[in-house]
């Protein structure tokens, strides 16, 4: 028996491309995780439903613009409504310092800048899932 880490990689919003999200998806696969890749233009509702149906441990969101500032707290709010706030939310991308703090306050577990080594992302996820497991067990 093995509990594989399952990660939903999402790139919400209408803008941009999903190159960065794809790079992250591949890196997480290479770290042994199962990555549910949802493509572009997903709404918070769609992302949360996907995470629920797929029993995701983590939602990793690629952030590209200020528009995501509204979307990410919305995702966290929906997770709470579904009693699924134990799903870890991570953000990655370019965001100004003040937004950063807002997101962390809203419940984002960690925010990784554009230069973050993909191996670090995998490590952060593994640690976060482990930490959560210990919290649930205790």
């Amino acid at each position: 028996m093995e509990n594989k880490i399952r990660v939903v990689v999402a790139k919400p919003g209408l803008d941009g491309h999903d190159r960065g999200a794809k790079v992250v998806a591949r890196a997480l696969r290479d770290a042994g995780m199962e990555v549910i890749y949802t493509g572009l233009r997903q709404t918070p509702e769609q992302i949360v439903q996907t995470a629920l149906q797929e029993d995701a441990d983590v939602i990793a969101i690629s952030i590209l613009s200020g528009a995501h500032m509204a979307l990410i707290p919305k995702i966290i709010e929906l997770l709470k409504k579904e009693e699924a706030e134990d799903i870890i939310v991570l953000g990655g991308g370019i965001i100004p310092e003040e937004d950063r703090d807002k997101l962390l306050d809203a419940g984002v577990y960690s925010i990784m800048g554009p230069g973050t080594d993909t191996r670090d992302i995998a490590r952060i996820i593994k640690d976060a899932v482990k930490e959560r497991g210990e919290k649930i067990a205790s």
Partner: protein
């Protein structure tokens, strides 16, 4: 814990269902208990498999068929399998990208699965996930798998009907797959029929069908589709209906299910025995119980193995 999850599933909680599906996927020790608990309540829903080469349009096809099943009043469970990397154990599960029309639909539940370790295990896992979806009230199950030999055929063994999805450029695939997944097809689909070569592809499939002998008398028809444009979906449904009706009229539907059940119990038995044998190695039982006797020629390897099997407690 299982009780609570089963109760929540009955109340339509998607996460509870997803949790139990993960237990199946992780081969949890609780699995036999879960299945025993739900089995009396199952309805033996219809299961349709879609297999074929990578990128043929299987997910797109499922996406376009879902509304047609819904129109008939069904709730649909989709099990979409993508390959697990043999090197890292990780996987990118991307089938949902083509099914986003149904992401928020209460009557559709989509679950992505990696093939993970053992291929034989995949067949059993997908059967068990189908049972959970059945329990949750999904009354049609659609399987999607990439049809690279073993994977496609394993999944197909748990379906009532199998559609093999091809593309116009797949001529070589027909050649190499003749002995593999092609013979699993109950219906052929030539998708991307907007492209050149579709007619040629249809002819080569039909040529192959004409040369083949079919035990049951059903000769797999070929349907042309364009899954990105909603072309050919009604025709597909019609062929599916015809096939299911043919199977039922001729007692073949039941026969196939009986054969699948025999295979399923056999698979589980094999797995149980394999685990017992493994534990006999791991715990040193072989060494402790029989080794000395064999060395002293008081027993021999065959007699010892039979003895261990008969007195399973020592395993």
């Amino acid at each position: 814990m299982i009780d609570a999850l089963l109760e929540k599933i009955k109340n339509g909680n998607p996460r509870a269902l997803a949790r139990l599906i993960s237990k199946v996927e992780d081969e949890s020790p609780e699995l036999p208990e879960i299945i025993a608990r739900i089995y009396p309540h199952l309805h033996s829903t219809l299961r349709v498999g879609f297999t074929g080469p990578p990128g043929a349009g299987k997910s797109s096809l499922v996406n376009k068929l879902l509304p047609l099943f819904k129109k008939r009043g069904h709730r649909i469970g989709v099990i979409a399998v993508d390959p697990t990397s043999p090197f890292t154990g990780g996987a990118i599960l991307g089938d949902r990208i083509r099914m986003i029309d149904h992401q928020l639909d209460n009557d559709v539940f989509i679950r992505s699965m990696g093939t993970r370790g053992s291929l034989g295990g995949l067949a059993q896992r997908s059967r068990d996930v189908a049972k959970l979806l059945d329990y949750a009230g999904y009354d049609i199950i659609l399987f999607e798998t990439v049809g690279s030999g073993q994977v496609g055929s394993d999944i197909s063994k748990s379906a009532d009907a199998v559609a093999v999805v091809m593309v116009p450029e797949g001529g070589d695939f027909v050649q190499t797959m003749k002995a593999g997944i092609m013979e699993l097809a109950d219906i052929y689909v030539v998708n991307k029929s907007d492209r050149d070569g579709a007619n040629h592809m249809v002819r080569s499939i039909q040529g192959m069908v004409e040369l083949s002998v079919f035990e049951t008398g059903w000769r797999p028809p070929t349907v042309c589709t364009q899954a990105n444009a909603d072309v050919g979906m009604d025709e597909f449904m019609q062929k599916l209906d015809e096939f299911i009706a043919y199977q039922k009229e001729n007692g073949l539907f039941e026969k196939r299910r009986r054969e699948q059940l025999i295979m399923e119990v056999g698979d589980i038995l094999q797995d149980l025995l394999r685990r017992q044998v493994k534990s006999a190695f791991d715990t040193g039982a072989i060494e402790d119980v029989v080794l000395e006797k064999i060395i002293k020629h008081e027993s021999d390897p065959y007699t010892a193995a039979h003895e261990l099997l008969e007195h399973k407690t020592s395993l």
